[in-house]
């Protein structure tokens, strides 16, 4: 690293930092943080929790000491249009004796208390594993199976022991749990449905065998044929073949339906400040319905229906591309990586979706929507550009997808990105960032506060875009801050979002407070 801040960085960190225009080919990323680093990163559990928790009518039970539940209680800020049980914090609150003797017994008791509480009617319980649970070796799968059998509900373990990788691994664990939930629909013969089906088929068999038909006016051959048919029906029911038949029939029906309804799934949106609703409005406007949302404002029923969709669109690729890939393989649903962050990206995304569905009516409707919304949005942005042009921004966010869209939007607003980093970016993301930025821009992976401080100071940033921990740092340096994290209060997607972003940037960068930092009384 050839710059004045090299003294601030560990030599081991050099490979994780590059300056656009220098000779370094690649940036090192997607690695565990160094021990001793003041990393902004979290853990596997945290990744699983932020992705899965917005499933609004599921019961999210954190199996571990209380802290893991306390710190993540309602952390995401996902808005819901209905059930809000996901906003309650459920924990097994493991104590010393549970650590010594194992936590499974307590988990069992907790589930029992949850099931016996008359106010709750859990249909699905997600059990999150935490560090200590991973170490003491509680068998969550066995506990879940036991609870499923006992209560006839779905209990899905989430393999999210904190130490077992990075946050990205937690995203995957959450995606796996979602896939488990979806498998209920495709394979009706397992889990909860299984019981119901078994009862149904038992009744059917009973009814069939008790059926007294009048054979008097049939000849022997016909009689045998009918009896054989009856017998084979009973056999097939008993062998579970009827279940298969039923499943096939249902899937066939779905396939028929799919030809007529344009339904897509929205992946990687968490409905922060109602962002998912904004996207859904656009889609409805052009004649597309959402089958399921992953996971902002999602319900168990939606998610189970997700395999019937024509297309998956992926907003936050970092957290959900994995799920899209898995769904493609498992359910043959194609996916598109889109982004509703930023004006051009929003337009491109709408057009891509329409093109992909190949429906001329939808394509036309998208153009009409754009024609209707674009002039007003651009006019508003022009006003803000006057106030923002020439400012310098530093970006340090969790997901690379956010960083990329921010750099693009800043370019549009005349804001120069002088530093950009992510906690969880991949090599291809950093390539993209390199392409988008000007020479001299610092690009870094998994930064610590002293690096952020040094580069912001060196590059004279006017605003930092980051998470909650960075806000206080920026302010302390007398630098404006823009919240692009879970706690954001204004939607940043689509036409509304780009204007909100510009408005908020103006509000913070041009606040009079920054002018009052230095005064004559300081001498």
């Amino acid at each position: 690293m050839q710059n004045s801040s090299s003294s601030k960085a560990l030599s081991e960190r050099e490979d994780f930092i590059m300056t656009k225009g220098d000779n370094k080919e690649n940036i090192k990323c997607d690695q565990q943080s160094l021990a001793g680093a003041v990393s902004q990163r979290a853990c596997v559990y945290s990744g699983a929790r932020v992705v899965l928790n917005p499933v609004k009518d599921a019961y999210h039970l954190v199996h571990g000491p209380i802290g893991c539940a306390s710190y993540t209680w309602d952390i995401r800020g996902s808005l819901t249009s209905g059930a809000d049980i996901f906003r309650s914090s459920f924990s097994t609150d493991l104590r010393e004796k549970d650590i010594v003797f194992g936590g499974e017994a307590k988990l069992e008791l907790v589930i029992e208390e949850l099931m016996e509480a008359e106010q709750y009617k859990p249909e699905v319980i997600f059990i999150y594993s935490t560090c200590v649970v991973g170490v003491i070796g509680d068998d969550l799968k066995a506990a879940a199976r036991k609870a499923e059998a006992k209560y006839g509900i779905r209990v899905i373990p989430v393999e999210s022991s904190g130490f077992a990788g990075t946050k990205s691994k937690g995203y995957k664990a959450a995606c796996e749990a979602l896939l488990t939930l979806m498998s209920d629909f495709k394979a009706e013969s397992i889990g909860v449905e299984n019981k119901k089906m078994a009862v149904d088929s038992r009744n059917e068999i009973k009814a069939l065998s008790q059926l007294n038909e009048d054979y008097s006016n049939l000849n022997t051959k016909e009689k045998i044929r009918i009896l054989q048919k009856k017998l084979s029906q009973i056999n097939s029911l008993q062998a579970g073949r009827a279940i298969e038949d039923f499943k096939n029939k249902k899937m066939k029906e779905q396939a028929e339906n799919r030809r007529y309804i344009r339904k897509i799934n929205l992946l990687g949106d968490y409905n922060l400040a109602g962002e998912g609703w904004i996207i859904e409005n656009y889609l409805n406007d052009v004649g597309i319905e959402l089958a399921a949302r992953f996971t902002g404002d999602s319900s168990i029923e939606d998610i189970r229906k997700a395999p019937t969709a024509d297309l998956n669109i992926v907003q936050c690729a970092g957290s959900m591309k994995y799920l899209a890939k898995r769904m493609k393989k498992k359910f043959e649903i194609p996916f598109l990586e889109i982004s509703f962050l930023g004006l051009q990206d929003s337009l491109d995304s709408l057009r891509q979706i329409a093109q992909h569905l190949g429906d001329q009516i939808i394509i036309n409707k998208v153009e009409r929507l754009i024609a209707r919304r674009l002039p007003d949005t651009e006019a508003k942005l022009r006003i803000y550009k006057n106030y923002l042009s020439g400012k310098k921004a530093a970006i340090y966010v969790g997901g690379a997808f956010k960083a990329i869209s921010l750099v693009k939007q800043f370019n549009d607003l005349g804001i120069k990105t002088v530093m950009v980093g992510t906690q969880n970016g991949k090599e291809s993301d950093y390539e993209k960032l390199k392409d988008l930025t000007d020479p001299g821009t610092i690009i870094l992976d998994d930064a610590n506060p002293s690096e952020l401080e040094a580069f912001m100071r060196e590059k004279g940033a006017d605003v930092l875009v980051g998470g909650v921990k960075d806000r206080a740092l920026a302010y302390k340096m007398g630098i404006a801050f823009f919240d692009h994290n879970h706690e954001r209060k204004h939607p940043l997607v689509g036409f509304e979002g780009v204007v909100n972003l510009a408005e908020e940037l103006d509000l913070t960068i041009n606040s009079p407070i920054w002018k009052t930092i230095r005064s004559d009384i300081d001498g």
């Binding site: 001793g36 309650s88 208390e113 130490f163 909650v468």
Partner: protein, 455 residues
């Protein structure tokens, strides 16, 4: 919000719904931040450290820096020794703190890392100090963690002069309180002319001014020489049985410094007791300035007592503050009917029950409860006011009860960490908040024709 809180109370022994506590390491981290030039270090997974920093940052709205051993799967199998050694090397090389204060986590505790022996084998750079506290997340709460870190500091740092000569100072352990409270305690001590060593001291660490520069190690915090000197002090005052008394007893055990445990001085009675103890120990007088504040507080309560009398209150939060708040609202003529802490300790129930002896109304009291339980209590016996942290806001909203925010954490309001709750001044501010909340509610509920200017 759906109302999923039934009136009927059902015994729950295992499931926790909406906690009123969190885990030990965050308390340890907060305590460590009150040592000058200290970098708190979390020996566990990255998530713990990240969450604690985030939570503290949300409450104080200040940068909170701490490092982590960044455990991997390997560390969890083979132990965290290598991680801690690498971490310490990196910390001293890059962040150059004067002190590293290590806390453990549930993970490292369960694996059984022996931090003491790892540090013994580590070549500590000259002039630097490493402190380590055992803070298993599955024991006690964040308050226990705070206490454990302060206790570790005493155990590992305090010294006694060979000649056993006293430094004529009073040790003061303020407990898990805000920088605004610590400033108030110091102001009182200084006004009385008392020499003191206050620890941990987060003032000038988590309430620093914005001047365009960021200092990873702000000027505040108790220094290592001061901490060493605690062994020579005349006595130790611990403000709060749960967060502060253990370290005071440790100091007695180690260096025979006499401990005095008092309630957190919130309200008239507890502040009186605090000042009286100071007078008794030092022979100093309470200056007119402070006496006047007491008089003003009494005057203010006299002016407003009709607003409070007979009003029912629910108090929840950390044990020390809840105990003192209960005593204070009783002195205002209010009726605490639900009193709850998440920290599991029967001593809490005993202390509060003693205070409530003269209460001629039915009340609920528990240690180790959660907000769901509090909500159920309120459904059965409605209150006029909630006193506690931000997490009560959903209960407040659903039951349409005003909430005055006191304690930790406060995530949805600002400025609280700069202002005291402690002392007569703190009580004046509390009266203003409580009175304001009750009267705002009254104005909201009064018909337009009946609105009055003078209340």
């Amino acid at each position: 919000m759906q109302d999923l809180v039934p009136k009927e109370y059902k015994e729950r022994n295992s499931l926790v719904i909406n906690p009123v506590k969190t885990c030990q390491p965050i308390g340890a981290m907060y305590a460590a931040l009150g040592i000058h030039g200290a970098l708190p270090h979390s020996h566990g997974s990255q998530g713990c450290c990240s969450y604690h920093r985030m939570h503290l940052t949300k409450h104080f709205r200040e940068p909170v820096v701490a490092s982590s051993s960044s455990f991997t799967e390997g560390a969890s199998v083979f132990g965290g020794r290598a991680n801690l050694e690498t971490a310490l090397k990196n910390i001293f090389a890059v962040y150059d703190p004067e002190v590293v204060a290590i806390n453990t986590t549930c993970l490292s505790e369960t694996i059984g890392d022996d931090i003491g022996s790892i540090i013994n084998g580590f070549d500590v750079p000259a002039g630097k100090t490493i402190i380590h506290a055992s803070t298993p997340s599955y024991v006690g709460s964040h308050i226990t963690g705070f206490s454990n870190m302060v206790k570790a500091v005493i155990k590992q740092v305090s010294e006694k002069n060979e000649d056993a000569k006293t430094n004529n100072k009073i040790n003061l352990i303020p407990g898990f309180v805000d920088p605004g409270d610590i400033r108030e305690i110091k102001r009182i001590l200084e006004a009385m002319g008392i020499d003191y060593i206050l620890f941990p001291d987060q003032s000038d660490v988590l309430d620093t001014p914005l001047d365009g520069s960021y200092d990873m190690y702000p000027e505040g915090g108790v220094t290592i020489p001061e901490l060493k000197d605690t062994g020579n002090s005349q006595a130790t005052i611990a403000l709060g049985e749960f967060a502060a008394s253990d370290p005071a007893f440790e100091l007695e055990k180690k260096h025979d410094v006499k401990p005095y445990t008092l309630k957190s001085p919130v309200g008239i009675k507890a502040t009186d007791e605090f000042l009286m103890q100071l007078m008794k120990l030092t022979g100093k007088e309470v200056p007119a300035e402070i006496e006047k504040e007491r008089g003003q507080l009494v005057d203010i309560i006299a002016d407003t007592h009709h607003q409070f009398h007979g009003k029912k209150v629910a108090v929840y939060g950390d044990p020390d503050i809840v105990i003192s708040l209960t005593e204070f609202v009783l002195s205002l003529g209010m009726k605490p009917v639900h009193i709850l802490t998440g920290t599991p300790d029967k001593k809490f129930e005993e202390t509060v029950a003693e205070m409530m002896e003269s209460a001629d109304w039915k009340y609920n009291l528990t240690a180790g409860g959660d907000l769901f339980q509090l909500h159920q209590w309120i459904k059965n016996d409605q209150v006029d006011l909630l006193l506690g942290n931000s997490y009560g806001k959903l209960v407040a909203k659903q039951e349409d009860v005003p909430l005055v925010r006191v304690g930790f954490p406060i995530l949805d309001r600002s400025v609280h960490s700069y202002l005291p709750t402690i002392g007569y001044k703190g009580a004046i501010l509390l009266v203003e908040k409580i009175s304001g909340a009750l009267l705002d509610r009254k104005d909201r509920d009064t018909d337009f024709e009946l609105i009055e200017f003078v209340l």
